[in-house]
């Protein structure tokens, strides 16, 4: 008999059951997988529960209509309650790592310092994280993507920044023998992306971990200062509806790793509101977008999605949100829903897709004293859909406006014939001299300009003070002995960089505390 564990789906159980283990990990994304890897390496018995399905290279056919329903939260249609911010978030075995664009940054020191100084976070220093980052980078082959393999979409950002004298950098990516196809967002068909589903999850399964896909954890079994386990309902892998079969996992320690929306929701469903802090300080790196009509084909769906970035505008002074510049891949279905207008105006934009370059500005929220972010709340507790409120304030719109101006300058400097904002009535600009006036007079209001996010953070903020935070500096829930939250929800602010490597690093660092609590 092999000592390897199993990867099970919602179809693999005929009747409700209860299992026992050392640690139950709820969620299989960047946080849960790294944690499970380290805990199994210490010989602990781990059960990992994932609400989404188990999909592999077999199924990754590069089709948007197949991938969004299978691999994304709410089929790719998750949004704030008022629909003003589109939320792209993974939901599958591997979580966001299955569908992200491979961009890997270490956590900026300035952000770690801010957490120490403003939120009382202890011990989470760059020095403490470096060994964890190094180990992760080695296992996941994280390395700079070479300039000579950069696609045309990224080249516009790279060239434009160069011409305007803005600082620029090459993105580090977690890939091995990448063929530069560009389908990272729909699941890598070559297993070249070093996502959790093909790296640390199978590593942990080989050490005995059981993975249960299609398991929607409905509540934690809380008893005074301890959590005894979790209750899940199994979902049908095809329909995503409950099968009626329940799975209870009893454990010495519980790690909630569902991400910045689902982790706070699970705590709230379980009656844990962290003195009102659970679901608060929710940040999402709000993104504004500019598209550009280029003279030559761009094919924005082709080639490594993110290869160039600019941090030139990450520090913009007091009262202002800094922003990170990158580019997104664009395919027809997501492009159609994000590009503005309807009828012939919209169809014209879509016909120009092969010649369209798109740039994004990722705004660093949560570092200004007045920026308390959004809120995740429950709707009907019986449902999986939660309420997400992210009020867009004056400082957001100032950053959106200035970021759109910068992106327009870059795109025009790189040769764009016309640049377009993603307002519901788009602003179109042909000459750099017109940028300021055109964008100053645009409608900067929620629901009139497309805002999106692929980075969800906060909601279970870490900090020293239980009156203002949810977990302590070991990621243990304040006031509970054996409950940890290990994912991006513990960030007390956003980062200003793509979050996956920060989540990897913090999860790996925190695994020591989870292991110690389980002894």
């Amino acid at each position: 008999m092999s000592k390897a564990g199993r990867i099970l789906t919602g179809r693999d159980h005929g009747a409700s059951s209860t299992v026992h283990c050392d640690v139950v990990v709820v969620g299989s994304g960047a946080g849960g997988s790294v944690l499970a890897d380290r805990l199994t390496a210490r010989g602990l018995a781990v059960v990992m529960l994932e609400e989404g399905g188990y999909w592999t290279r077999r199924s990754f056919d590069g089709r948007e209509d197949h991938s969004y329903p299978r691999l994304y939260q709410e089929m790719g249609n998750r949004a704030t309650d008022d629909q003003s911010v589109l939320i792209l978030q993974g939901r599958n075995v591997g979580g966001g790592t299955t569908v992200n664009w491979c961009t890997s940054f270490r956590t900026p020191r300035t952000v770690l310092d801010h957490w120490r100084d403003q939120h009382g976070v202890k011990g989470l220093t760059e020095e403490a994280l470096v060994p964890h980052w190094e180990a992760i980078e080695k296992r996941l082959h994280i390395a700079e993507w070479p300039l000579d393999r950069m696609n045309a979409n990224n080249q516009v950002l790279w060239d434009g920044c160069g011409k305007l004298g803005y600082s620029r950098g090459l993105v580090r990516r977690n890939v091995n023998n990448c063929a530069n196809l560009g389908y990272c967002g729909l699941g890598c068909p070559l297993d070249a992306k070093m996502a959790m589903g093909v790296t640390l999850i199978p590593d942990a399964v080989e050490r005995g971990m059981t993975v249960q896909a299609n398991a929607s954890v409905r509540r934690l079994l809380v008893e005074n200062r301890r959590v005894r386990g979790v209750e899940a309902q199994l979902l049908d892998p095809e329909t995503d509806r409950p099968t009626g079969v329940a799975l209870t996992v009893m454990a010495k320690t519980v790690a909630v790793c569902g991400g910045a929306i689902n982790s706070p929701a699970l705590l709230l469903r379980s009656g844990l509101d962290g003195n009102g802090n659970v679901g608060k300080r929710f940040f999402l790196h709000p993104v504004v977008i500019m598209s550009a009509l280029m003279p030559e084909p761009v094919a924005p769906w082709s080639g490594a999605p993110q290869a160039a970035y600019s941090h030139h505008f990450i520090e913009r002074g007091p009262g202002k949100l800094g922003f990170l510049l990158e580019v997104p891949p664009v395919m027809p279905l997501i492009g159609a829903t994000v590009f503005p207008g309807f009828g012939e105006e919209h169809q014209q934009l879509m016909e120009e897709l092969p010649f369209t370059q798109t740039s994004i500005a990722i705004c660093r929220d949560g570092l200004l004293p007045e920026d308390t972010g959004g809120t995740v709340k429950l709707r009907d507790p019986a449902e999986r859909r939660v309420s997400i409120d992210y009020p867009l304030r004056a400082f957001h719109f100032e950053a959106f406006r200035e970021a759109c101006k910068v992106m327009a300058r870059i795109q025009l400097a790189a040769g764009a014939r016309e640049v377009r904002s993603l307002h519901s009535r788009p602003v179109r600009i042909q000459k750099a001299a017109d940028i300021d006036a055109a964008l100053d007079s645009a409608a900067w209001e929620a629901g009139r300009v497309r805002v999106a996010t692929a980075h969800q953070m906060g909601g279970c903020a870490m900090g020293a003070d239980p009156r203002t935070s949810v977990v302590d500096s070991t990621l243990r829930y304040h006031g509970m002995d054996n409950l940890f939250v290990v994912d991006g929800s513990v960030f007390p602010t956003s980062l200003g960089v793509n979050p996956q490597e920060s989540i990897f690093g913090i999860a790996r660092w925190a695994s020591q505390f989870v292991a110690a609590a389980t002894a």
């Binding site: 023998n177 027809p332 169809q347």
Partner: protein
């Protein structure tokens, strides 16, 4: 603008609270979309031969009418009928949670409702009875409305309908997209590792193919 409600409104729901709650918070939808009145006098359309999963025929007619304005007949483009855009939108809605389905039904009712249309934009006829240009004007009114709830409704309806159309690979040629490269085609022959006694396959995490340019 003070907005009276076309149907009795639950106590305590001022316009301000409706705006603050957002359209998918549901109150205005419940007021505008509930009951037979919302769909009285709407136009009939041909229903999908395999039926509807979420929407009523009247709700489907609204989806269908919106789809025809969202995607106009254009050389080289498949029509919304050829794609089955409204049917596909019904299938997409079938996978969302029941509460979201209810809100979508209400949204279509509010959009169609002539009385609500009069209150919100001055029209009295159901959306599906308007001429094409008039329908465009209604869509633009919602898009540009001072009421956040209507902008939210426009965004939700637009996304659902466009997803119903652009989910189809038959649209790819019209937008200059060749589709995924053929290298994807070996996917179904790949093993799916489930742990246990089976050794982890070489392909699970290791690609041995040539790096492509």
């Amino acid at each position: 603008m003070d907005v009276p409600h076309p149907q009795p409104v639950p106590a305590g729901l001022s316009r301000r609270s409706l705006v603050k709650r957002g359209l998918l918070g549901g109150a205005l939808l419940a007021a505008g979309g509930a009951g037979f009145l919302a769909f009285r006098g709407g136009a009939a359309v041909t229903l999908p031969p395999d039926g509807l999963l979420v929407f009523t025929p009247a709700q489907f007619a609204v989806l269908d009418a919106v789809a025809r304005r969202m995607v106009r007949p254009r050389p080289g483009w498949p029509t919304v009928d050829e794609v089955g855009a409204a049917r596909a939108a019904d299938r997409i809605a079938a996978r969302v949670e029941p509460s979201a389905q209810k809100e979508l039904r209400q949204l279509l009712g509010l959009f169609e409702n002539g009385l609500a249309g009069f209150v919100l934009g001055g029209r009295t006829r159901p959306f599906t009875r308007l001429q094409g240009r008039e329908q465009d004007a209604v869509l633009a009114d919602w898009r540009d409305s001072r009421l956040a709830v209507l902008r939210t409704g426009y965004a939700a309806l637009r996304t659902l309908v466009l997803a119903g159309y652009y989910q189809s690979p038959s649209v790819w040629p019209a937008v200059g997209y060749a589709g995924p490269p053929g290298i994807f085609q070996d996917g179904p022959s790949q093993p799916e590792w489930r742990g246990g006694d089976t050794p982890r396959p070489d392909g699970n995490g290791v690609w041995h193919g040539e790096a492509l340019p």
